[in-house]
């Protein structure tokens, strides 16, 4: 029997939301079961998602009119290939949730378990909704679900520094959201519509340029803040470093990507409307990306705190993605899209492995963690694979992205960006090699590090699975490309490669 997959699209969003709403109810009865419950919800959602993606791969993009109100008269979900490409990111929750079981049991009192898992589910639902909605205002509301739960997740760890980091994140995040709302409102006032496709169609040449430009700038700035592109990154390092490790993985790997998805959606809209000179914008984007790569790497070099280093590396990697889209060449856009997924995978791997090290030893700086590889060989190996991947050395997942983006730079006749990219990657390697050295080739300074034991299986299995994926995605990197190419074709002024 064939399932009518298209009918299930809204449930990909509704399932995690309902699951989240029920988590505190369950927690009131038995907090112990909230973890498995959240995992079950994630798995059900993932099943729906994967089915939908497979369907799109086969049958192409489709729209779903909520409540039967099609077009601009209601809210439309639009499941195109780009959404189908980023949606499998929710798969990562299927490893992050079990990984966090142990963290939750050790670090949080049972009364908070339900809320913690509810927040994780809400982040996931918000992100899924964000990627599939076809409505500007709906985009904003979904973004708020994700952001709000992210702020709280940062603060879960403690009352002092964590709360302060979360509040900084909240202030900047709220301003960014407000800018998105302002842009939405302006576009609505100008066109009378909120549907992305409809707005694009109605932004004709007779619409005043000034407000359109402001709307564009507001939306783009908003998403650049969410994506933590330098110099709008200031909220990120503290928030991502101080959050509990599973949360850091979610934030760095996934939540930052909402900014990218939003950016792509905005560019799609304005490209279709042809209302803004996009060439200059693309160039600016490319510059921002290049600067992000270099500055993120530069700042990361000075960090001794493992997670802070990873946080800065996120800024670099977002730089790759932004640069890739900014180059506006088919290959570069393919590379950027691939990196959206790959970076999520790799950064999740790294943060979870870092979390495992911190969890077992109680130390979080490189100088304290020296020599931990002897005591925890598997976790350290995962960390090393993650490091090699994120630097973009073959044969790991990170390499292909670098290859494609560099190729795109030459294709677009912007060779300097190609040089910057290739050698920026070397810069990044400097701090990862410090990490590998510290973990593997230096003698332990703390007895607790030397005597640490491997993490329990509930944490180890996700780690090994993720590390294996980093390698496999690199070796079989071609398979997803068939998917991305048509996806980016819609993002670009030119056709696919």
């Amino acid at each position: 029997m064939s399932v009518a997959w298209e009918q299930l699209l809204p449930w990909a969003v509704a399932l995690p939301f309902v699951g989240a709403a029920l988590t505190p109810v369950l927690a009131a009865r038995s907090p112990r079961w909230t973890g498995p419950w959240a995992w079950g919800v994630v798995l059900a959602t993932v099943a729906v998602t994967v089915g939908l993606v497979a369907h799109v791969a086969e049958a192409g993009a489709f729209t779903y009119a909520i409540g039967g109100w099609s077009g601009a008269y209601g809210i439309e979900l639009r499941f195109d290939r780009f959404a189908a490409w980023v949606l499998p990111l929710s798969l990562l929750f299927a490893v992050i949730v079990p990984f966090s079981w142990r963290y939750v049991v050790v670090s949080l009192e049972p009364a908070r378990w339900g809320a913690f898992y509810a927040l994780l589910l809400l982040v996931m639902g918000g992100m899924i909704g964000f990627s599939i909605t076809g409505d500007l205002f709906n985009l904003f509301v979904f973004m708020e679900v994700t952001s709000l739960s992210s702020y709280a997740l940062v603060a879960v760890g403690g009352r002092g520094v964590a709360a302060w980091a979360a509040l900084k994140y909240l202030f900047l995040g709220a301003v960014a959201s407000l800018l998105a709302l302002l842009g939405t409102a302006l576009l609505f006032v100008l066109t009378g519509s909120l549907n992305l496709a409809d707005v694009a169609a109605r932004l004709g040449p007779d619409v005043a340029r000034g407000p359109v430009l402001i709307a564009f700038a507001a939306l783009v700035t908003s998403f650049l803040v969410k994506a933590a592109v330098f110099p709008l990154h200031v909220w990120l390092p503290d928030a991502h470093a101080i959050a509990p490790s599973p949360v850091s993985a979610v934030l760095s790997g996934l939540v930052v990507k909402t900014g990218i998805v939003g950016l792509v959606r905005v560019v799609q809209l304005f490209h279709a409307a042809d209302a803004v000179p996009l060439a200059g914008f693309h160039l600016a984007l490319a510059w921002l990306g290049a600067v992000s790569i270099v500055m993120g790497a530069f700042l990361a070099i000075f960090q001794d705190d493992l997670k802070l280093m990873l946080a800065y590396s996120t800024i670099s990697n977002v730089g790759y993605i932004v640069l890739g889209f900014g180059l506006a060449a088919p290959y570069a856009a393919v590379g950027a899209s691939v990196h959206v997924v790959n970076h999520a995978l790799i950064k999740t791997t790294l943060f979870l492995a870092a979390g495992a090290l911190i969890h077992q030893t109680g130390f979080r700086t490189l100088s304290d963690l020296r020599g931990v590889a002897r005591a925890m060989p598997q976790t350290a190996a995962v960390m090393a694979i993650g490091a090699v991947s994120i630097v973009g050395l073959p044969p790991t997942a990170g390499f292909l992205c670098k290859w494609y983006i560099a190729l795109g730079a030459f294709e677009a006749d912007r060779a300097p960006f190609g040089f910057a990219l290739v050698f920026g990657a070397l810069f990044i390697f400097v701090y990862y090699i410090r990490m590998v050295n510290a973990l593997y080739f230096q003698a332990p300074v703390h007895a607790r590090v030397a005597e640490a034991t491997e993490v329990p299986w509930s944490m180890r299995a996700p780690l090994l699975l993720l590390a294996a994926s980093c390698l496999v995605l690199g070796l079989l990197g071609g398979a997803p490309l068939a998917f991305v190419e048509p996806a980016v074709a819609g993002v670009l002024p030119v056709g696919g490669p």
């Binding site: 090699v388 050395l393 073959p394 044969p395 390499f399 292909l400 670098k402 290859w403 560099a406 190729l407 730079a409 030459f410 294709e411 060779a415 190609g418 040089f419 290739v422 050698f423 990657a425 070397l426 390697f429 090699i433 050295n437 593997y440 080739f441 230096q442 003698a443 070796l475 079989l476 990197g477 071609g478 398979a479 490309l481 190419e485 490669p497």
Partner: protein, 496 residues
Amino acid sequence: MGVVDPRPLLAPLISFACAGLVFAAGRNAFWRRFWSLSAAAVKLALVLSMLPGTLRGVVYTFDVVAFTPGIGIAFRADAYGMFFALVSSTLWTLTTIYAIGYMRGEPDRSRFFGFFALCVSTTVGVAFAENLLTFFLFYETLTICTYPLVVHAETPEALRAGRVYLTYTLIGGGFVLLGSVMAFDAAGTLTLAQPGILPADAGGATLATIFAALIVGFGVKAAIMPLHGWLPLAMVAPTPVSALLHAVAVVKVGAFGVTRVIYNVFGVELLQDLGFATPLAWLAAFTILAGSAIALTQDHLKRRLAYSTISQLSYIVLGAALLTPFAATAAILHVAHQAFAKITMFFVVGAIQRTTGKTRVSELAGIGARMPWSMAAFTIAALSFVGVPLFAGFVTKWYLSLGALQAGAGVFVGVMLVSSLLNAAYWFPIVHLAYFRRADGGDEGVHEAPPLLLVPILICAAYVLLLGLTTQVPGMPFSVAQVAVERAFAVPAVVP
């Protein structure tokens, strides 16, 4: 004639699987040795099984995955690749035996043997790479896999050497990537299966950038001066590593890359038009002489070997850069000749160090009497390097000189001669010390290296002899090199 066959893929895969099994074996010495040795043997057999086909002109290919048209991972065992793969898998087998003896009692042996196998896996991968992307893939993996071997001792000195090594090689890797990307942008393909892919109309500046990027990138590993700085430092690694990696795998991969760039990316004809190869030839000539001159001043044995390596590698680069069939034959042949002779020397130096604790040239007085077999092997290798007729090194120099004349650059013949003199000047004193001086502490009688070290030494030395004496016998490296040269120049055999 191309034949689809999985063997070019299987060859690197075997070492890869071996590495996994060795890591899994952990502290269990038996399984570690068992997997290392059997993988080495299986791989050697596999490569040898392709040899008859190669001599007939068969090319085995295997496509693994294509990302988009023109970009993918594919393997292809052509004559030159076969040549390189044969050398490395033969030497892997010998070095594994040697290393088992040498590393006795060292810590972290699983890590050592695991990464050792990975290095060989990637070397063979480079040899069989069908395109520049696959080449780069293995090239970079090799960098990563060598790093734990270089810093194996975990001393500050080793860590420093490791850092320098990575800095050099990764920047080199960056250049290779850059060159590959630009080459793809210009040519639309990266295949190494043709005599040149770059179109002549791609623009002089673009072609020059590509050439410079690729040559600098590969030149780092090939230790062309001034890109050689990492090699002497990396000698802190355990001797088997120095032997296999810094006489065979790492540096030869670089030299192999340079030749691939010249023959398969640019092609002889295009390079002759462009004239890019001439500066490279001069650089190589400079490296040959300067490397030898520095080697002369080194007292530390392994450092002297390192500078000698730098000098010898540039024979290959020079041979390739001369763009003539004879020189090409010399370049390809020297991959084998230098490898076997140099590894013999490294083995002997390691054996001396393990048996007597001596690491300097000045301490070697009378060593010939204590370790007669080892020193005999060393002498054979030294004679080969100097280029005494009937030894392997002579064949190289002969063809290289012929090639230089063919190219109308007789000055390089002079370089050959000076180099021979320098080689004699730094090898013969060692031989002299070993045989004609008495040890200060009085004669302690014969005290040879243990069999696990001695046997590989003798096999290698014997093979060096054989390479010189039976050059023309079918199945020896020369025949394979001929097939390879015919492909690159589209000319019939070049036997004078």
